[in-house]
């Protein structure tokens, strides 16, 4: 290999047999050769593709309303773009997008697509990085407007007919507004007479500016002014993407510019809302093939909430987690859809089975087996183990199904409870439930206490909501037959949950909830008659005026006697204890399940380093405590601050420089350095090796950015940190 060090150039090419003239088509993807054969890679690929399409669908759903609004607005100028009516005024839509700009790319791409489909083929999307000057901006916009149409198929014949082929060759640096005007006239206004009849063939020209704030104000102002002078002949519509607030628009456009714009504002979702949606609908469902443990999800949402507010980033991080989960482990190919389990299990090699036996959660499972024969069978008999594996996998799928529904049910009950002990969104409740068995926590108990104080109306309401959740969930699994048999009242007393999880569990819960809701709605909220009788007795005493002593005694008695509950209260108590039992069953944390490692990604520590890099921390650790990396026996330090002569030179210099203020005297520093390395040597002044080592250490510290040279005083350097 050639050396890549030169004093005359900094870029080196290794073509590695690549030759442009040769066609490389036969090698489709060079990467694929590496992993394609591996089962884990195949599973990973298919699962990620599934998630990607789900995300795409979600995008469509979430953007749809907003984009439709914009498109309708734009379309309203479609037919009646009347030049006389608004002279020099450009209609424009302003989309308030929120600060997470990277996320908006997909939003604007869908917008462009939609406009191209519904309104006009002439759309230009101009980014700030491509328009450093007005000339660039105009060239960019115009060439996109002119050429954009020709890439669309349905326009092709039209273009040919019109004879715009002369414009096909327009070079970018020839694109000006004049050219655009001419082109537009030829294409639409002076088109064949049959087209002239149909007025609506006059297509709009839409210019989208997605990152308004990044633009240079004066360039945009000029652009708007130029465009406004063409409005009589060109029907141009602007769409601005504004990240901050509408005031940004007002600030950067003075009156004479903004008066040329007819602005309508559209609001898009805030990113946390969108993030919740993505997390809830895609990752926290049983349909997702890959599951994040509570900690992993918490990490990703923390990165989102505290660092970047970027949903795209979040999705990429999930992708990374998924990659890490599957990487090089064929066992993970079990982490697939339910109907493929049998197939995958039969394809597992003996080594894979062995590594499944090594899983941490397998041990409690074995210990739970009472029969000695099965215990041995699990280890010895591979076929038997495969069978057990299939059974357990199905169990796990059932468990996940129940778990996610229960999380949603729990949320439905505790959503409105003051203080939000368990959180307000599915993801918050999920992390609580996934980290520990939530029913044993104080927060959960308090929530249940709170439910005991809820009113009849509220309770009935939440039960209804939870029933809705269950119904929709059951419909996903199978179109459910309407429940006709009205549950009789007498079986209420022996409500008990059977051992099954999954769909059957949900069905029973549904029946029980229906029962409760009916009872609660019908329950009498009045205090029962027995108390009323005793009150009547007391009435005599109360009639006697001034008998304060008696009254006091009566009140005391009232506290002593148990308050008799109303019918509603009784049912409510029973309902709450039922909820507790139900959640206790449904919300067992994932790590209590056998083989949970296969489905739940929990290696947070490892992934955190890759997703959230900590360069500064690593540098500090390396310099202040090299043993952490080197694992050598010579540099073990009593404390992080101490210095020893065995440390690498940079480390010694670093530690010494931390003792100094803003300015460091190089001579003193050198002497300190020398006396650390050779404490007993009087002649160290003459020792040039020390000096060389010090010089090198200083150069490296300078390279790392801890110090720089200073002109304030001779032979001093500036410290850049504090």
């Amino acid at each position: 290999m050639e050396s890549t060090i030169s004093v005359s150039k900094g870029v080196f090419i290794f073509k590695n047999k690549f030759n442009k003239s040769k066609q490389f088509k036969k090698k489709i993807n060079l990467f694929d050769r590496l992993f394609t054969k591996e089962p884990w890679y195949i599973t990973y690929k298919s699962n990620w593709e599934y998630i990607e399409t789900e995300i795409q669908k979600l995008h469509h759903r979430t953007y749809n309303v907003l984009l439709n609004d914009i498109v309708n607005y734009v379309q309203s100028f479609f037919g009646n773009y009347n030049s006389e009516m608004m002279e020099g005024i450009i209609p424009s839509a302003t989309l308030l997008t929120g600060v997470n700009q990277p996320d908006h790319v997909s939003q604007f791409i869908t917008l462009v697509k939609k406009i191209k489909e519904d309104v006009t083929p002439h759309v230009a999307i101009v980014n700030s990085q491509d328009s450093s000057t007005l000339k660039h901006l105009v060239e960019n916009a115009v060439s996109q407007l002119i050429h954009g149409s020709e890439t669309l198929e349905y326009d092709e014949d039209e273009a040919r007919e019109v004879g715009s082929s002369q414009f096909k060759k327009i070079k970018k640096n020839q694109c000006t507004m004049k050219v655009l005007q001419k082109w537009y006239n030829i294409t639409y206004t002076n088109a064949s007479p049959k087209k002239k009849k149909q007025k609506y063939t006059n297509k709009l020209l839409v210019i989208i500016i997605p990152d308004f704030e990044s633009f240079n104000c004066s360039i945009l102002q000029d652009f708007v002014m130029i465009v406004s002078s063409y409005t009589s002949s060109l029907p141009i519509v602007f769409i601005f993407g504004v990240a901050t607030s509408i005031s940004a628009l007002h600030k950067s456009f003075p009156y004479h510019v903004s008066s040329k714009l007819l602005i309508k504002v559209f609001h898009s979702h805030s990113s946390p809302v969108y993030m919740n949606q993505v997390v809830e609908d895609i990752f926290l469902t049983h349909t997702s093939p890959f599951h994040l443990s509570g900690k992993a999800l918490e990490l990703l949402t923390d990165v989102f909430l505290f660092y970047d507010f970027s949903v795209t980033g979040l999705i990429q991080s999930v992708k990374y987690c998924m990659m890490d989960h599957y990487y090089g482990d064929n066992v993970k190919s079990l982490c697939c859809e339910r109907n493929r389990i049998e197939e995958v299990v039969t394809n597992l090699s003996l080594d894979d089975l062995e590594s499944i036996r090594q899983l941490m959660s397998f041990r409690p499972f074995v210990e739970a087996q009472l029969d000695c024969q099965t215990k041995i069978g699990l280890f010895e008999d591979d076929d038997f183990f495969r069978e057990v594996l299939i059974k357990e996998m199905h169990k796990l799928h059932d468990y996940m199904y129940t778990f996610y529904i229960c999380v949603r049910l729990l949320l439905c009950y505790i959503k409105d409870i003051p203080k939000n002990l368990l959180g307000k969104s599915v993801r918050e409740v999920y992390t609580k439930c996934a980290v520990e068995s939530v029913t044993n926590t104080a927060a959960f108990k308090e929530c249940m206490m709170m439910i005991k104080f809820q009113s009849q109306l509220k309770l009935a309401d939440s039960i209804k909501n939870s029933l809705k959740i269950i119904n929709s969930a059951l419909q996903i699994v199978s179109p459910i037959k309407p429940l006709r048999s009205t549950p009789t009242k007498n079986n209420l007393n022996n409500i008990a949950l059977n051992d099954n999880l999954g769909e059957s569990f949900l069905r029973t819960v549904r029946v029980h909830l229906l029962l409760f809701s009916r009872q609660i709605e019908g329950a009498n909220n009045e205090v029962t008659a027995s108390i009323q009788e005793s009150e009547e007795l007391d009435n005599d005493i109360e009639n006697v005026p001034g008998n304060r002593y008696k009254l006091k005694e009566k009140l005391l008695k009232a506290t002593r006697t148990d308050r008799v509950q109303s019918e509603f209260e009784m049912i409510r108590d029973r309902f709450v204890s039922y909820l507790e039992a139900m959640f206790n069953k449904g919300l067992q944390p994932p790590h209590s399940q056998t083989f949970h490692e296969i489905f739940f990604f929990s290696d947070v520590g490892n992934v955190r380093k890759q997703i959230v890099g900590s360069p500064r921390g690593a540098q500090h650790t390396a310099l202040s405590n090299p043993v952490h990396y080197l694992q050598c026996s010579c540099c073990i330090l009593p404390s992080l601050e101490s210095i020893s002569d065995t440390l690498p030179d940079v480390s010694v210099a670093y530690k010494l420089h931390r003792e100094c203020g803003k300015h460091i005297n190089l001579y003193d520093w050198l002497q300190a350095f020398a006396s650390v390395l050779k404490p007993d040597d009087d002649q160290r002044d003459h020792d040039s090796t020390i000096q060389v080592r010090f010089t090198r250490a200083v150069a490296e510290l300078q390279f790392l950015g801890f110090i720089k040279s200073s002109k304030r005083k001779t032979d001093h350097v500036m410290r850049l940190t504090w």
């Binding site: 690549f18 923390d302 990659m323």
Partner: protein, 546 residues
């Protein structure tokens, strides 16, 4: 930048808490680390109780116990004294097991050094008169010791005995130097006592966790005066260290083995990197030590079949244009590079997709000086965003993450890998002029010498006139330089030049070599200054006179 300190992300907390006074450094360090931690825990417990009610959201999973504490990394000292460095060295020497044997000659001193800090701590609990006695004793010991050796209890600047003596003999200026030091020593001692007193009398405010207070910052930057000692590198005997010595870097044998093991452990990651790259992520490597060899290995082992472009970010005259050119012209065989960034990117994207190849960008030091502007980073991020381009970059500068904003980061799609190698930055720093060599002036001196040798005898004379004048007037506060007409008259006296024009002709040569600068004063006269430090000039003259 992603900062991994726990304390930096809690600005709201900070606002709520009652402000404690900015602490003196001494108090902060005097508490042993364990003690400090205990304090922290105690306080944070209290805080938890207080802040639970505030419904503050704090990141839970973002930080873990093995993160580096912010207080370690960004240790903020409002007051640095001259003695910090010495104290450090002292403790280092005392701690290191080797030295205890060799230092038996002065057991008293070592003992004292060891017991100094406990002594001060004891003082706090003892009645005042006992304290005073102790203090006197400490001062006595300090004074008696300081005359004998250089790392004594007190805090002299580093004046190795031998050199100080020689200095005294050789030049009168250094005598005054050492006298100054004596005075300094005294004042230091007094200061130290003063500080002690202050410490003892004031009741210590409750220690709380690490907070960067703005006051501290301004306190540090308020004084214009630089409080470091006035030593210069001129004190060193051998100023010019041979270039050849730079090559052998001293690493102990054990470290050599360990560094090798470390790099080998990173080689295990190669397959994973390839996997990560193939899934559309890019890789960034950080950590102390040169990562060039590691990346070269990666390229050699895994990227033999792919076209690669290696970019040395540390190369001082690297331009972003040269990078684009090498991709578009050299690799993709186009004739020219479009001027607009967007066009460039779409062009590369299209051609790579058409050919169906994957291009690898290996960027050593993406934080290099020439890549530190937003345009370069925008270009690189857009390049990395292309599906068929895969970027592997390294960073070394501590502030490198500040290069990227939100949108650039999302384009880069970095995964971060800690590859601390402890390998010396040989190539990376080779382009840089090191502070040490630059300061020592070896280069300047040698170039001065070689230019001087090539001069005619008349020109040599003219130059030495300027030097002598500059050295004679070095005490003048605002030295303006030698006026041209004075120079002319002096030259004429010595028959060096005959006319104004001839002198100017001679001077142009100096100006071309930047040996002399012309400064114009307000009245229009020209003054000649040599832009080289006076000590160097002195050295040059001495050498030359010999």
């Amino acid at each position: 930048m992603r900062i991994e300190s726990k304390h930096d992300v809690t600005p709201i907390r900070r606002g709520v808490r009652n402000r404690t006074k900015p602490k003196k450094y001494g108090e902060f360090t005097e508490l042993s680390p364990t003690k400090r931690r205990a304090h922290d825990e105690q306080i944070s417990d209290e805080e938890c109780l207080n802040y639970d009610t505030n419904l503050l959201k704090l990141p839970t999973e973002l930080f873990s116990s093995d993160d580096v504490e912010g207080s370690d990394m960004f240790k903020f000292k409002s007051r640095h004294t001259k003695h910090d460095l010495q104290n450090k060295v002292k403790t280092a020497i005392n701690n290191s097991p080797k030295v205890t044997g060799t230092h038996t000659i002065t057991p008293k001193k070592v003992q004292m050094g060891l017991h100094q800090s406990p002594l001060i701590k004891v003082c706090e609990a003892t009645p005042r008169h006992v304290k005073d006695i102790m203090k006197k004793r400490i001062i006595c010991e300090v004074e008696s010791d300081s005359n004998e050796s250089d790392y004594s209890g007190s805090s002299s600047d580093f004046v190795p005995d031998g050199s100080a003596d020689e200095d005294a003999v050789s030049s009168s200026s250094s005598v005054s130097d050492s006298e100054e030091e004596e005075q300094e020593l005294h004042s230091n001692r007094q200061k130290k006592v003063q500080v002690n007193k202050n410490k003892e009398t004031r009741s210590r405010p409750k220690d709380s966790e690490y907070i960067v207070t703005s006051d501290n910052y301004f306190l540090m930057h308020s004084s214009k005066k630089i409080t470091t000692s006035d030593h210069t590198l001129a004190r060193l005997k051998n100023l010019n260290i041979g270039e050849s010595l730079e090559d052998n870097i001293q690493i102990s044998d054990e470290h050599k083995v360990k560094v090798l093991e470390l790099t080998q452990s990173y080689e295990q990651l190669f397959d994973k990197w390839l996997y990560v790259l193939s899934e559309g992520f890019n890789i960034i490597l950080y950590g102390v030590g040169s990562k060039r060899t590691l990346l070269q290995k990666f390229q050699m082992k895994k990227l033999q079949d792919f076209p690669c472009i290696v970019i040395n970010g540390f190369f001082p005259s690297l331009t972003i244009k040269s990078i684009l050119e090498s991709i578009i012209v050299d690799l993709l065989e186009n004739s020219h590079v479009p001027s607009n960034l967007g066009d460039v990117i779409s062009m590369i994207d299209k051609q790579l997709k058409d050919c169906g190849i994957e291009l690898f960008l290996i960027i050593h030091n993406i934080d290099g000086t020439m890549l530190r502007n937003s345009k370069a980073q925008a270009t690189l991020s857009s390049l990395s965003e292309i599906e068929n381009v895969h970027t592997i970059a390294t960073i070394d500068h501590i502030n490198a993450p500040l290069l990227w904003d939100h949108s650039k980061l999302s384009k880069f799609k970095f995964t971060w890998w800690d590859v601390t190698t402890f390998m010396p930055y040989i190539e990376e720093t080779s382009y840089e002029n090191s502070i040490m060599t630059q300061r020592s002036g070896a280069l300047q001196l040698s170039s001065l010498r070689s230019v001087y040798q090539s001069l005619t005898s008349n020109a040599k004379g003219i130059f030495s006139i300027i030097i002598n004048y500059q050295l004679e007037n070095q005490r003048v506060a605002h030295y303006q330089g030698l006026p041209f007409k004075d120079l002319y008259s002096k030259c004429r006296e010595q028959f060096l030049v005959s006319s104004d024009l001839a002198l100017r002709a001679q001077l142009t040569e100096f100006l071309d070599h930047k040996l002399v600068k012309i400064k114009r004063t307000y009245d229009g006269s020209e003054n000649l200054v040599i832009p080289i430090e006076n000590t160097l000039l002195q050295q040059f003259l001495e050498e030359h006179d010999r």
